[in-house]
Amino acid sequence: MVTNNLGRQLPETFFGKKVQPYQDPYSHKPVGNHATRPLRRHNPGDNKLLRGLREAIEASGLKSGMCIATHHHLRNGDALLNLVIREIDNLGLRDIRIASSSVHPVHAELIPYIQKGVISGFECGVNGLIGEMVSRGELNCPIIVRTHGGRARSLITGEVVVDVAFIAAPSCDSYGNMNGFFGPSACGSLGYAFTDAQYARQVIAVTDNLTPAPLTPVSISQSLVDYVVEVNSLGDPRKIVSTTTQITRDPVGLQIARYAAQVIDASGLLRDGFSFQTGAGGISLAVAEQVRRMMSQARIKGSFGCGGITGYFVDMLEEGLFRTLFDVQCFDLKAVESIGRNLNHQEMSADTYANPFNAGAMVNLLDCVILGATEIDVNFNVNVNTESNGYLLHNTGGHSDAAAGAKLSIITAPLLRGRLPIIRDTVTTVTTPGRTIDVIVTERGIAVNDHQQELKQELIRRKIPVRDIHELRAEACRITGEPRPVEFTDDVVALIEYRDGTIIDAVRKVKE
């Protein structure tokens, strides 16, 4: 066992690799070069278009023990990962690692293939049943959860080698030029797939909308793509909208959003050039709505909206409140429709978005980000991976990346969920270190991290209810009672990797 700087106990090795413990958010810097892959030669007349997935898998040279990747732009509507694994099983391959950008509840279909040994582990976080079963010890399948920026980093440094990337391409020509803007499975940005196209040893474009070459606009170029395959359907784009994408109507959520907007207003960051990121949850959107109102009223011209993009951000772009949107992922169909139409709605790779080991990620330019939490501790550490029952249910997404980058990271969360207090002495799992979090906003008050004294004084001056985080914790527990702690065994089933590749926490099997 080793202990990291946050006092979390980690195994010395996991999934065949040595564990490097987390130290702090900004200092770790590896020495080395970008990963490489073999050169190719394609002569005039060489054909890339293959008859089906099976032929493409065979042509790629995929063997047992190798690693594959897909992107999650179709979110819970994705059909490709399930399709690929079925073919891999048909070919008799085993011991395949999955390094997709994320795995969603729709991929619960993979469970029998994990049990059968086709899949041996995940080099990425998972949402839904797979994580739950792994947490309960019902599936034996190591998981390394990565942030969006961290995943891009792991491919670029060569820590994770993707042997074959299968890229769902909503529009693609027979020579491999693709974009996500048009077609029956349009998903908008292909931001997470860019690194795969550049670093995977073999790249297979899979499309349900084959067009004559050359296709424009080009998001991912023919020069990066080895093979092209046509399938009937990539999935159900209506399920891209898998989280809430409506402003909350819940009075608690609205109260949190009002406070969060007041914090932004008090921060002094809301001026010309303001840059902003929120998620697609109901509270985040309610904050976005308030920010939009404040910007309109004060005639503030922001610089950019960032991250996963929703229709609300598209409206703000079109109203002139932002000059640009940097879109790593479209959260709803309005955003999908916009990215093909608005020149200033800019597609962005996960590398550009959030990789800590390039010459500067977009998150570094963020003024403010609104983030969620399943739990928060009195040191401002945030958990988004496990729930209070100890189950690994959520991927990290860009949480730690945006928190580390933005000048003002605001966590919005209700103080109580059902009968659970959300602020705890320690979180079940640390996803994002408290040092990168500035303010916690709950419906019963706002806690400000010690390094933000000036903001704290300004909030107090404005009579916004600033509370000590211990006091909020005590208030929550006065209402709910002290919850009985979840008990864990010593078996580590997953690691939570920080964006720089060090390990911030380990997830253990729940004792049941």
Binding site: P251, V252, K463, I479
Partner: protein, 307 residues
């Protein structure tokens, strides 16, 4: 004196039988809540709701708004049990439905005094906010407004009122004009606050805004609400304008000077500043304070010349 300046722009109904709503009372931004044991609670849940409300109030120690409990009408058999259950948890007052005549308020006043003696608390602790919600109630409201020292205001109830007149309630409210005006007269002449009726369409914020602007013009101090989302609109309408605040500040400055000179009347920009003008200015500044528009301490002794 305190009562007439207490802000009561928004009085939110919260059903007494819903733990999930009661739990959030501390976070609602309304000036007051009215926990409902009457219409919102079906007969079969009256007992459970009384226990629930009592437990909630007992744990809600750091009160950050006024708490009224709407008991069942004195015409029913339930109101005494309501009081028995909730008064020991010390709400600020009682909303009394169907206050058709002063006798109902007087009766409740007597019973509240008995409870206060039994609980060993100050006589007059429990306030009363009677509902004027029938034709008879409107006719009698001028006497009702003077029927007890416990009254903080009268609350007009348009739903039952229109039912008692056998008419439809409209969104524009022409049918309510006469009754609303009479309730405002009754309150102003008795020195208490006039609270307007609920607006039931929670999805129509524009109509709510319009109605709130109307009742503010008529002289109401606030409004009963059925949904927390309505609070913000009502507060926006009641927020004083900058020029009102500026003028009020000048008035206070002038009267403070007057007090120093040993008089209660002074001229400001050629107009006489006396007690009613000061009273209006203080009300505007208190409202502005509640909206966070100004940050100042109002020294009541200096303003009124006495506590």
């Amino acid at each position: 004196m305190e009562n007439s300046f207490r802000l009561r722009r928004s009085l939110l109904y919260v059903p007494g039988n819903m733990p999930s709503m009661l739990q959030n009372i501390p976070i609602f931004a309304s000036d007051a809540v009215m926990i409902d044991l009457e219409d919102a609670v079906p007969y079969s849940e009256k007992d459970a709701a009384r226990t629930l409300v009592h437990s909630f109030l007992s744990t809600y120690q750091d009160r950050n708004k006024e708490i009224f409990v709407r008991i069942n009408s004195l015409k029913t058999d339930w109101w005494q049990q309501d009081l028995q259950a909730i008064l020991p948890a010390l709400p600020d007052g009682v909303r009394l439905p169907e206050a058709d005549s002063p006798e109902f308020v007087e009766h409740l006043d007597t019973v509240l005094t008995e409870f206060e003696e039994e609980l060993g608390i100050e006589i007059g602790h429990f306030k009363i906010l009677p509902s004027i919600e029938t034709a008879e109630g409107v006719i009698n409201c001028i006497k009702t407004a003077r029927s007890s020292n416990r009254l903080i205001g009268l609350a007009f109830g348009a739903e039952d009122y229109t039912a008692s007149l056998e008419i439809e309630r409209t969104k524009t409210g022409e049918e309510l004009f006469a009754a609303r005006t009479r309730v405002v007269w009754a309150c102003k002449s008795a020195g208490i606050q006039a609270i307007d009726t609920i607006f039931s369409d929670v999805s129509d914020m524009e109509a709510l805004r319009h109605e709130t602007a109307l009742i503010k013009t008529l002289g109401f101090s606030g409004k009963s609400l059925v949904n927390p989302r309505q609070i913000e609109v009502v507060h926006e309408v009641f927020a004083p304008k900058q020029e009102e605040i500026d003028y009020a500040l000048q008035v206070i400055e002038a009267i403070q000077k007057a007090r120093e000179m040993g008089t209660g009347v002074i001229s400001l920009n050629g107009k006489m500043v006396d007690a009613p003008v000061v009273k209006r200015a203080v009300k505007i500044l208190k409202t502005a304070q509640a909206h966070g528009l100004i940050d100042m301490h109002l020294d009541e002794e200096v303003i009124y010349g006495h506590k």
